[in-house]
Symmetry: C2
Subunit: 216 residues, 2 copies
């Protein structure tokens, strides 16, 4: 092999690992087994560890673009003519990302560190979020006692809901946020998302029981 | 050994296993390893499996009394002079139980089956909860579009919040429910619980990053 084809080979391996990691993280969360990622990428464990010596470097390779999207979304929300809508839309955007991907559910609430690029993006996303909140408060649209820390509670609760509801009720996350926003707005909003059906909730509850080995 | 002392021995073993299971489930959740329970009870795995052939039988032995407490609390809420307070207090009671015990966090939302006693108690607790909701709605205190399924969302979100927040912010669960109740009440309530501090939230987020092996 020439050194050029060696580089091409290495680059192809890298792309396969990142693609596989994206799938496995999405399905199983940020703590998914690295062995499974190597297996799905069709590379050996040694190759994976050579390219990404820490889990966090792999997380950064997979999710840096998503964090850039979050930053861009926050910038849009900041210039929305209605500060309440800007706030509600941005929180909905982040909760929706959490709902579609188990790794993203925890990416926003775990203080990942060790990779400067990832830290820089997270810090920027958080700084923008704070601005979105402060703008909605300063316009009297968001309850004055809502704090930056409250956002962490919303995202942790949403991550837990998404994990437990699974794919039984795809709208559950939207409904939960909608119920919360209803209570956060200084003046009540007009519309609330529809609740899930009984069948959807029972399906999620049965799946949870199966996970604990207690379903008949 | 006489048959009497054999029985006393068996009974002591059983109590040790149930006590150990209570501790281990509380710390690690309903899917805690049974080996760890046997170890902490000071009995062999074979003894544990002889007494409790399924995990669910062990769960029933540990938590039947708690479910009875929930049923009793719901009965009290049903006769509270103010239907809104009855509803808010009962939901707070259940969320508080979830916050104090990782197993209880999931006990209420997993459809455990296989042990008739446990199923009977869960069905009764749920029936009462539905009555508490319907009473608050029929008095115009609770939003008319709040459904029985919404309760599952509240409890799943709370379970996830409790799990992620750990012991960093003991009041996080109360604040989250309080924000929700604020949005659920047909007429706005007067008081909302205080948010957690920044230090508390950062501690939880750092712990989550450590769990994923991404803390510096």
């Amino acid at each position: 092999m020439t050194s050029k084809s060696l580089r091409a080979d290495a680059e192809r391996n890298r792309r396969q690992v990142v693609a596989a990691a994206g799938e496995v993280f999405a399905e199983r969360g940020l703590d998914a087994p690295l062995d499974e990622i190597a297996r799905r990428a069709g590379v050996g464990n040694a190759t994976l560890y050579r390219r990404f010596p820490t889990r966090c470097e792999l997380v950064a390779a997979v999710f840096a673009d998503t964090l850039r999207e979050v930053v861009a979304a926050a910038e849009q929300s900041l210039v929305h003519p209605d500060p309440w809508t800007g706030f509600a839309e941005h929180l909905s955007f982040v909760c929706e990302l959490q709902a579609t991907n188990r790794a993203l559910a925890d990416l926003f609430i775990a203080r990942l560190s060790g990779v400067p690029e990832l830290e820089r993006l997270r810090a920027r996303a958080f700084r923008h979020l704070v601005e979105v909140i402060d703008r909605a408060k300063s316009h009297g649209a968001l309850r004055q006692d809502f704090t930056h820390e409250d956002v962490a509670l919303v995202l942790m609760a949403n991550a837990g809901l998404v994990e437990r509801m699974g794919d039984a009720a795809p709208t559950a996350s939207r409904r939960h946020l909608s119920n919360l926003l209803h209570g956060l707005r200084a003046t009540p909003p007009s519309a609330v998302a529809a609740p899930p059906t009984q069948r959807q909730v029972l399906r999620a509850m049965t799946t949870l029981a199966e996970r604990h080995g207690c379903a008949s």
